[in-house]
């Protein structure tokens, strides 16, 4: 279904081009002149659906291991796919050819839940969780995970356009303006231990239920927010192909400066024996939890009576770091005058925003005897995001 959706806009483009060509035969000369006589001044509005697919954000909440050799371990990444989002442009054309002002607004938001459950098969690597105590067996592996992902983009442009050159075969316009973007990238992941087959914590090992020893899921959260503003410039060209049909293309670049915030949090768990407040870590596979202290005197109690599940939380954040970014946007499309001043528009657009995501991950951590920790160094990973896809819509000049 998704593969079909990928080709559907291309089919629509083909239909539009063919339709224009067929319809051209019956156009009168008078209609053709009217179609390409731009209004001296007026309000311009364009609404398009951009079937944009964001990529490059590194949305990988887990890995999957194979036969244990490591060579076939591969990432389980989230493909956000194409999403239909509205891109709106409104503008005003100044009289006497003094140019036009155009405001462009594009908002993209996509949320996904990515889940894999394979009880008792511990094949999913907890790559978002901190390695200390990650995984029920402290090996960084889970038998299932559920990840919630949010990608949000806001793009606002206010540009001034002016004719650069004009001939019967091609017309060009340059533009300069202001651009403001904001980008958010959130990944939360729960790593489960659904069927770890730990020693049975049952009577007569325990005197009644022993809650709190079922493995708690490990948790990790990576968040990044970026907002920036700056100047942009670009060039757009229009090439009449038929009387009512034009090919258009454009290229724009922007240099942006803004603020970046990033947050990392991880909670992992392990088992320990609590002997009068002193915690003794239990080594996997935790057979000790299923054994009596003294098999000859089981009435004295079991290890499990003193067992606890300890949480180890670690986090790191940075707020409002200064950051530079850039944007490059290109498109290639058509504009088909279907009725008076109404155009059908369509084409393919790609927009790249550089250095808009930051992931901070504590690398080396020193555990203190009192349970606190010290983050000694941090790895920084920056991300670019690219939106690309077909667009289609209508434009009208009042």
């Amino acid at each position: 279904m998704r593969a079909f959706a990928r080709w559907l806009p291309a089919v629509v483009l083909a239909v539009a081009v063919c339709g224009a060509a067929i319809g051209q035969d019956s156009d009168s000369e008078k209609d053709a002149k009217k179609a390409y006589t731009p209004k001296e001044s007026g309000v311009f509005a364009e609404v398009t659906a951009w079937f944009a697919q964001p990529s490059g954000l590194g949305l990988t909440p887990a890995t999957e291991t194979g036969d244990g050799t490591g060579a076939d371990t591969h990432p389980l990444s989230v493909d956000l796919g194409t999403a239909n989002r509205i891109r709106t442009r409104v503008g005003y054309r100044l009289p006497h050819g003094r140019g036009e002002f155009i405001l462009t607004w594009f908002a993209h938001e996509d949320t996904r839940t990515f889940e894999r459950l394979s009880p008792s098969d511990f094949v999913y690597g907890e790559i978002l969780a901190h390695p200390v105590f990650a995984g029920t067996f402290d090996d960084g592996l889970a038998d299932g995970f559920s990840s919630d992902i949010l990608v949000r983009m806001r793009d606002l442009r206010i540009d001034y356009y002016r004719d650069a050159f004009s001939s019967p075969r091609i017309r060009g316009k340059w533009y300069v303006g202001y651009r403001r973007i904001s980008q958010q990238r959130d990944i939360d992941a729960l790593y489960f231990s659904l069927a770890p087959n730990l020693p049975a914590i049952l009577d007569p090992l325990t005197n009644g239920p022993k809650p709190g020893l079922d493995p708690l899921p490990d948790f990790a959260r990576v968040r990044s927010e970026f907002s920036a503003r700056g100047a942009e410039a670009g060039l757009e060209v229009e090439m009449p192909v038929l009387r009512r049909f034009r090919i258009e293309a454009g290229l724009g670049v922007a240099a942006l400066r803004g603020r970046m915030s990033s947050e990392y949090a991880s909670t992992t768990h392990t088992y320990a024996i609590d002997q009068n407040g002193t915690l003794i870590l239990v080594e996997p596979p935790f057979d000790l939890l299923g054994e009596f202290i003294d098999p000859q005197n089981p009435e004295l109690g079991a290890w499990v009576d003193q067992a606890v599940q300890e949480s180890f939380g670690i986090g790191y954040s940075s707020n409002n770091e200064s950051a530079n970014s850039f944007a490059v946007e290109t498109y290639l499309g058509f504009r088909w005058r279907v009725w008076r001043d109404l155009d059908l528009v369509g084409g393919f657009r790609t927009a790249t925003f550089g250095n808009v995501g930051l992931e901070l991950r504590p690398k080396n951590v020193t555990l203190n005897p009192n349970g606190s920790y010290n983050v000694q160094d941090v790895t920084r990973t920056t991300y670019d995001v690219n939106f690309e896809g077909y667009y289609a819509g209508v434009a009208y000049v009042y």
Partner: protein, 267 residues
């Protein structure tokens, strides 16, 4: 012509508006899964036979002995200790918890009762079958003896028999004594006190479901169950009547109170 082509374009654009993602319903085939729990140990072997009076030789056991005393029961199961030992099933109490993690879920549902968590509630099956040749019982006249075979000490016939006659062999008073005591009841698992389920535990599962089993032996046997060493608790899992191999520990050690913990996912 021109307007019809325009309409085609508009319709195509409108057709793009809905999302293309879809969720297909899963195909679910329900199968029956059975969990069998057994305890096995080294036990004594007994020559076992029935003894009764039949003065009129009509083949029906008399309710009275020759002195006119009422016999209860008229037919007694007699055990004669042999020097033979064998590995055999043992009726041993254990605690049990069976959970089902349905496909796509992350929280299991416990399907055994609260009673089943008590290590005195569930009971593994008795031994069955005979060992070696038919015994030739030393039948005291005028009784009639009907050989039943060489049975394990954990056979239900042996455990349920209260027969004990230390005078038959004063040098070895235990030679003619059945080790059991009546009242252990049927093997049972899960269920409730009033309605314990007979083993095996049976549950319907679908593709992707995971059955999680935990069990632990009681520390001591029930009265009348004699074993030479601590039994091992073992579990067998059948899916659609076919033996399958779960992940985890399906056989306990011989340590007192040891247990099993395993799971199986229907692929």
């Amino acid at each position: 012509m021109r307007s019809s082509v325009r309409w085609v374009g508009v319709v195509c654009i409108l057709a793009l508006a809905p999302g293309c993602d879809t969720t297909q319903p899963q195909q679910v085939g329900v199968q029956s899964m059975q969990i069998r729990m057994n305890a096995t140990s080294l036990v004594d072997v007994y020559n076992v036979w029935e003894e009764y009076y039949d003065a009129d030789q009509d083949g029906v056991p008399d309710p009275y002995d020759p002195s006119g005393n009422l016999l209860d029961p008229p037919v007694q199961v007699v055990c004669q200790l042999t020097t033979q030992q064998a590995s055999a099933p043992v009726p041993w109490p254990y605690s049990l918890e069976i959970s089902v993690l349905r496909a796509g879920e992350t929280v299991p549902e416990v399907v055994t009762s609260q009673d089943a968590l008590d290590s005195d509630f569930n009971l593994t099956p008795y031994a069955s079958g005979t060992f070696g040749a038919q015994p030739n019982p030393p039948c005291p006249s005028p009784k009639v003896c009907n050989p039943l075979g060489q049975l394990a000490a954990t056979d239900r016939l042996v455990i349920d028999s209260p027969f004990s006659d230390p005078n038959r062999d004063p040098a070895n008073p235990n030679r003619y004594r059945c080790p059991g005591a009546p009242g252990l009841g049927d093997p049972r698992m899960g269920g409730t006190t009033n309605a314990p389920l007979p083993p095996p535990f049976t549950i319907d599962v679908g593709k992707g479901d995971t059955v999680i089993v935990k069990a632990r032996k009681a520390l001591r046997p029930l009265n009348g169950v004699e074993v030479l060493i601590e039994p091992r608790l073992t579990a067998q899992t059948f899916l659609g009547g076919r033996l399958v191999a779960p992940a985890g520990k399906t056989s306990s050690s011989e340590d007192p109170g040891s247990g099993v913990s395993f799971s199986f996912t229907v692929k």
